[in-house]
């Protein structure tokens, strides 16, 4: 199994209410960080990446009436919130192109399960990663591959082959199927 060392940088921001938010960061089930996030902080790691990998960032420990404690005020003037500001591999951001397409999976507390109607639980079981804010206890799962620069490029910029400009090739970038077919034909012709 080929292992590639990659620099992973994660910018997090914690917002205080009763306590700073708890976060756990792991790659391929190896925990890299577990603790409270105070204000804005950048965590840098060197990770051993294989072909297919999983980055998990978890926000946990926020209370929603558990033991009669709420880690947010009713008017939300104070709220214990974890925000993912940025994730970078080898100093290159995954960018809004990646984050905007993803969702946080909510992990309900027992108190929430008891107090919230089922349709609300269902409706909010996933929340958008667009602004990076984890209001609930939740899990962010990013599957990434090596070579990391190829993965970043294709994940961020490759669009479906529908043409934004009709018959223009602008939207066909990174759709190499036709190239590879023609390359094979040309090689066969001139061999």
């Amino acid at each position: 199994m080929k292992i590639t060392q990659i620099k992973l940088s994660i910018d997090l921001k914690g917002q205080y209410c009763n306590h700073w938010p708890f976060a756990k960061i792991s790659v391929n089930n190896q925990i890299l960080f577990d603790g409270q996030v105070e204000n804005a902080v950048t965590y840098d790691f060197t990770i051993d990446a294989i072909k297919k990998n999983q980055l998990v960032i978890e926000h946990y420990g926020k209370r929603f009436g558990d033991d009669n404690v709420y880690d947010c005020t009713a008017d939300q003037s104070q709220d214990c919130v974890l925000t993912i500001k940025d994730i970078r591999f080898d100093d290159i951001t995954v960018g809004p192109e990646t984050m905007d397409q993803m969702f946080f999976n909510t992990v309900w507390t027992q108190a929430q399960r008891q107090s919230m109607p089922p349709d609300a639980l269902e409706h909010m079981s996933k929340t958008s990663c667009q602004n990076g804010t984890m209001n609930f206890n939740s899990v962010f799962l990013l599957k990434f591959e090596t070579p990391i620069l190829n993965w970043l490029t294709v994940t961020k910029y490759k669009k479906p082959a529908e043409k934004t400009a009709y018959f223009s090739s602008h939207a066909l970038r990174w759709h190499y199927e036709e190239d590879l077919k023609l390359i094979a034909e040309i090689k066969k012709l001139i061999q």
């Binding site: 290159i92 620069l149 970043l152 910029y157 934004t164 018959f167 090739s169 040309i186 012709l189 001139i190």
Partner: protein, 500 residues
């Protein structure tokens, strides 16, 4: 009142209205003509959509790599017949054809063969395409050929702004029915293109239907790159003042709602002074909707461009730049006449990345003196700059054809010194794409194809955003088939021996 039609023909980019014809329209209008403009390029683009055929697949026809297939032939015939009849029926006094470049020659010839017998109008052709000559054709250009064949009454070379007025007045001289191009010294004195003659909402804008037009800041080039034929058309480099260019951009923004601009210049930053002045003026103007512009740009040594230059470009709306990297070999790039190194590219890419500017590198393989080591340097470019693909700085890559010995380019003057010999094309003329050099015998046609394919595979390996990839490869395949390079006896004859 003189009734004048101005006809633009394929192929030009469908992404913006034609600028040359828009200038001609303005000149004619200023002369009191009643002007109608036909952009047959965008008509053809729309027609291709209508009949569900890929417009871009005609590139290999326009570029002479292949003949139209049966479907393309039918489409072309129908299209030409319809528009030739339609324009002829309007009984214009004058019809002016804009032949943008070599890529317009095929269509121009076919169209005029149908159109000219139908019309009583005085027909003229202009644009860079009329100045085109084949290699070793004793200086006879496409314009002469059209005129000798009776397909046009006149042809105009060089810059139309002044020539047209002389032509309408019945004068003779440089640029009128001869291949001595007329050059204008003071570009600031020329009229701006008038896009009100075009339906601006028809074009295939690349960015969310934002209107985009061409703009010309300079003509000619400060460099004399050996593979380029620009000096043939515009021997001297001339440029507009930064203020004048900024004024035109602001005019089009205020009057036509145009927020994107593409410079036709060989190099947008050919004159650094004018470029910096333009950027300063644009950065200072209060655009309610941000504008963006781009074009062909040259990377310069680090000592010439400061950090502040890049910040200023961004503040002025600079967005996407097409830069001729050409090769990964410093030695070869200098030999081509480019005066920057891979280390300069490192610096510029870093600055582009910092300032969120985008670049599409232009490159080609198979320069006359390219060695296996140079080819390896080409391959090495891809991992070296891949991080700029991943961060969005490099947002396109143009892998051009192998070196073409363009008439009028410095490499044409190296034919003897490099012992270049050519295959003959179907017209029994030297094929400028299929050459062989006795001073670099290892660089056979087959080797050039092999290197091009290897470069393309390398681009895919490192996830580069290759632009128009399939069309380019298809050109190559058609060239192989057209010349029967796949047949053993031809392969042996043209691929393996040193002299063609």
């Amino acid at each position: 009142m003189t009734r004048t039609a101005i006809v633009t023909i394929p192929r030009i980019e469908p992404h913006r209205p034609p600028t040359g014809a828009a200038i001609v329209a303005k000149v004619c209008s200023n002369q009191g003509h009643a002007v109608t403009c036909y952009d047959l390029n965008i008509e053809f683009f729309d027609y291709c959509k209508q009949v569900n055929v890929d417009y871009h697949n005609f590139d290999s026809v326009w570029d002479g790599f292949s003949d139209p297939d049966s479907i393309q032939e039918q489409i072309l015939t129908d299209f030409i017949n319809y528009w030739a009849c339609h324009i002829a029926k309007q009984s214009y006094d004058r019809v002016l054809f804009s032949v943008f470049g070599v890529s317009g020659i095929y269509f121009a010839e076919r169209f005029l063969k149908i159109f000219k017998p139908m019309t009583t109008a005085r027909v003229a052709a202009g644009g860079m395409g009329v100045s085109y000559t084949g290699l070793k054709t004793d200086g006879l250009g496409f314009g002469v050929k059209l005129r000798n064949a009776g397909l046009v009454d006149d042809y105009l070379t060089g810059e139309g702004e002044v020539i047209l007025i002389k032509y309408f007045n019945g004068e003779e001289g440089p640029g009128i029915n001869n291949d001595t191009p007329h050059q204008v010294e003071d570009l600031d004195s020329l009229p701006w293109p008038d896009y009100s003659f075009y339906e601006l909402d028809r074009y295939d804008y690349l960015t969310n239907n934002e209107r985009e037009v061409f703009i010309t800041g300079s003509r000619g080039c400060v460099r004399k790159c050996t593979y380029c034929d620009i000096e043939r058309y515009w021997p001297k480099f001339r440029y507009r003042s930064g203020q004048n260019i900024a004024d035109e951009i602001i005019h089009n923004y205020e009057h036509h709602g145009v927020t994107r601009y593409y410079f036709t210049d060989s190099l947008i930053n050919g004159s650094l002074k004018a470029f910096r002045d333009m950027c300063n003026k644009l950065a200072a103007y209060n655009f309610a909707t941000p504008i963006h512009w781009g074009g062909q740009y040259i990377f310069r040594p680090k000592s010439v461009m400061s950090d502040d230059d890049f910040k200023m470009i961004k503040a002025a709306g600079g967005d996407l730049f097409f830069v001729g990297f050409e090769t990964g070999s410093d030695r070869l790039r200098f030999e081509m006449g480019k005066k920057f190194t891979n280390a300069d590219i490192d610096y510029q890419l870093e600055q582009f990345s910092k300032n969120r500017l985008k670049v599409t590198p232009l490159m080609f393989t198979g320069y006359i003196t390219e060695t296996p080591e140079d080819h390896q340097a080409n391959l090495d470019m891809f991992p070296r700059w891949q991080r700029y693909v991943a961060d969005g700085t490099i947002n396109g890559l143009e892998l051009g054809s192998s070196l073409i010995i363009l008439p009028g380019s410095p490499v044409e003057r190296m034919i003897d010194s490099h012992g270049l010999t050519f295959m003959l094309d179907s017209n029994n003329e030297p094929d400028i794409k299929l050459w062989h050099s006795s001073t670099n015998p290892g660089l056979t046609i087959q080797e050039r194809i092999r290197r091009k394919i290897e470069i393309h595979e390398q681009a895919i390996r490192y996830a580069y955003p290759v632009w128009r990839q399939a069309a380019r490869l298809n050109d190559l395949k058609q060239m192989i088939l057209k010349n029967n390079f796949h047949k053993p006896e031809i392969k042996k004859k043209f691929f393996k021996i040193n002299s063609i």
